[in-house]
Amino acid sequence: MSAPQTPAPAAPAASAGPILSLRDVWVEYGDKIVLEKVELDFEAGSFVSIVGPSGAGKSSLLRVILGQEVPTRGRILLDGELLNPECGPDRGVVFQRYSVFPHLSALGNVVFGLECEKAPLMARLFGTARKAAEAQAAEMLAAVGLGDAMHLYPAQMSGGMQQRLAIAQALLKRPRILLLDEPFGALDPGIRADMHALITQLWRDYSLTIIMVTHDIREAFSLGTRVLALDKRRHDPHAPHRFGATAVYDLALRKSPASAASTAGDTAPAEPTQKIAQERASA
C-alpha cells in the first residue's frame, strides 16, 4: 500500500472544536419517534463506531448526518456551520451494498468523482485533463489494493473488492467525514479481517474522521477510538414507538486519536485486541 501523496484533509481544523456536532436532534416518522434528543460531538480524526439493536436508529442517525434525511428537530453543525441538508462531497459514504456503479470500470468509478467536479455540463473529462484524473484515481486504487483491478467492472469483483472500490471512490473526494454503513456486514470473515486492516491503515494515513455503523460489537471495539451504543432510554410497553433512541453508552477507548496513531507506527494492525478479533473472525 502506498503512502498518500496529497495533504490530509482533517489536519487544519483538528485543533478547533468538534468537526461535527448534533444539537438536540430528533427524528420522527409520523408519531413514531426514532431518535430523541441526540446530543453528540465528533472530534476530528476520531473513529467512532455506532452499535445498537436493530431499529434503534443507527441508520437514521447516519442518514441525518449524511444529509439524506432532515431531522424533525435540532441542528447539525459541520465545522461549526449549519449542515446543508443534502448529500454533498464534504461527507463521503460507503454502504453495505450498491455503493459502486455497475456500468463503470473500477477506474471509471473513481474518476467519476473528479469528472463531476471539473466538468459540470458533460460530467466527462477528455485529453490531458482525463489523463491527470486517471493518474490520481489509479493512485487511490493502488492505495486500497486494487492496483491490478483497475479495468474490471464491479460484476467481475468479489464483495471485498467492491467495498475497497467504494472506499477509494469516497476518499478521492477528501471528505471531511467518512460515513460507513455496515460496510463489512456482507463479507466473509477472512475478507473482513483484511478490510479492517485496510480501513485502519487508511484512517491513519489520510487522518480521516470516520463514523461507522455496525452490527458487529467486536468490530466496533477493535476499530473505533470511541464506541456509541444507541438504544431507547425509556420504554412504554403499550406504545413502544413513542420513545426514541439516543446514545446510552459513549465509551472513549483511547485518550486521543494522536496517541492511537502514535502506538501504531508499522503497517500491520498493532493493537492486540484487534489481532485477536481478526483471528477469531477468520477462524
Binding site: V93, H103, Y153, A155
Partner: protein, 271 residues
C-alpha cells in the same frame, strides 16, 4: 433424473427446438396434399410449388403499372415506417423515461398523463390520426409511435426509479448534481433496458404497422396481404407472413447482440 434438473446441451437444444417447427410444416404439407388430391385447384392450402409460382412475379418481375418489384417495394415501405416509428418511440421514451425516473417533481407532474395515455387502445386513436394527419405516411408512423411509446416510457421510468437509492446518494457525495446523475448514472444504466424494452415493443409495433397499412395504404407488406385476401391468394399471404416473421426475428436477434456487445457489464460477469 428429475425434469427440473435436466440441462440441455446447446446442440441438442437446436435439434429439440427444430422438432415442433418441422412437425408443424409436415402437418401443413399433409393437409395441403390431401386437399389437392381432392381438388387440384384448391387455393386455401397451397403447396410449396404453388407459393413459389405465386411469389416469383412479385419478387423478380416489375409490376406492369408501377414498374416496381412489388415484394421489395412493399418490404422497403414497411421497414421505413417501422424504423421511423421505432426510432422516434425509442428516443422519446428514453428522454421521458429518464426524467420521470430520476426527478420526482417531473414524475408527479407527467406520470399520471403517461399512465392515462398508456391505457387508451392505440387503434382507437387511428381515426383521429387519419383525420388529423391525413392518410399519408405520417399517420402510420404516428400510430406505431403512440402505440408503443407509453409502455416503453413506463418501463424505462420504472427501471430508472428502481436503481438503488444508495447509488444516487453515493453519486451526490461524489459531487454530482441532478443533471450529472441523469447523464452519467441513470442514462448508461437505462440503455440496456431500453434495448430490452424495444425488443418487447417489436411485436406490438408490427401489429400497428400492419393495421395502419391494412386500413389506408397503397404499398407495404400489410397492404399486400389484405389486398390479395380478396382473391384468396394464400400462395402470397403465407410467404408474406413468413417473411414478416423472419424480419421480426432478425431484428430481435440483432438488438440482443447489440446489447451484449455495447453493454457487456449488463450481461453477467463473463465479459
Amino acid at each position: 433424473m428429475r425434469w427440473v434438473n435436466r440441462q440441455i446441451r446447446r446442440s441438442d437444444a437446436v435439434l429439440l427446438g427444430a422438432v415442433p417447427i418441422l412437425l408443424l410444416m409436415l402437418v401443413y404439407l399433409f393437409l395441403a396434399v390431401s386437399r389437392h388430391a381432392a381438388n387440384p385447384f384448391d387455393k386455401i392450402l397451397p403447396l410449396p410449388q404453388g407459393m413459389v409460382a405465386g411469389m416469383v412475379p412479385l419478387l423478380f418481375q416489375p409490376d406492369q403499372l408501377s414498374g416496381q418489384y412489388v415484394f421489395w417495394a412493399d418490404t422497403l415501405a414497411s421497414l421505413e415506417r417501422l424504423g421511423l416509428g421505432l426510432g422516434i418511440a425509442t428516443l422519446t421514451s428514453l428522454v421521458i423515461g429518464l426524467v420521470l425516473g430520476v426527478l420526482p417533481p417531473v414524475r408527479a407532474t407527467i406520470g399520471p398523463l403517461v399512465t392515462g395515455i398508456a391505457v387508451i387502445p392505440p387503434i382507437a386513436l387511428l381515426p383521429i390520426l387519419f383525420i388529423a394527419l391525413g392518410l399519408g405516411e405520417t399517420a402510420k408512423v404516428a400510430l406505431i409511435v403512440i402505440g408503443i411509446t407509453p409502455v416503453m416510457v413506463r418501463d424505462i421510468a420504472a427501471y430508472v426509479g428502481s436503481l438503488p437509492r444508495e447509488q444516487i446518494i453515493k453519486a451526490q457525495t461524489l459531487g454530482a448534481g441532478s443533471w450529472q446523475i441523469m447523464l452519467r448514472v441513470a442514462l448508461p444504466q437505462a440503455l440496456p433496458r431500453l434495448i430490452y424494452a424495444l425488443r418487447l415493443a417489436l411485436g406490438p409495433a408490427w401489429v400497428f404497422l400492419i393495421s395502419a397499412e391494412a386500413i389506408a395504404s397503397d404499398i407495404g407488406l400489410g397492404y399486400r396481404i389484405f389486398l390479395v385476401r380478396r382473391y384468396l391468394s394464400m400462395d402470397v399471404i403465407i410467404p408474406y407472413v413468413a417473411w414478416i416473421a423472419l424480419l421480426a426475428i432478425v431484428m430481435d436477434v440483432a438488438l440482443a447482440q447489440l446489447s451484449r456487445r455495447a453493454f457487456p457489464w449488463a450481461h453477467g460477469a463473463s465479459h
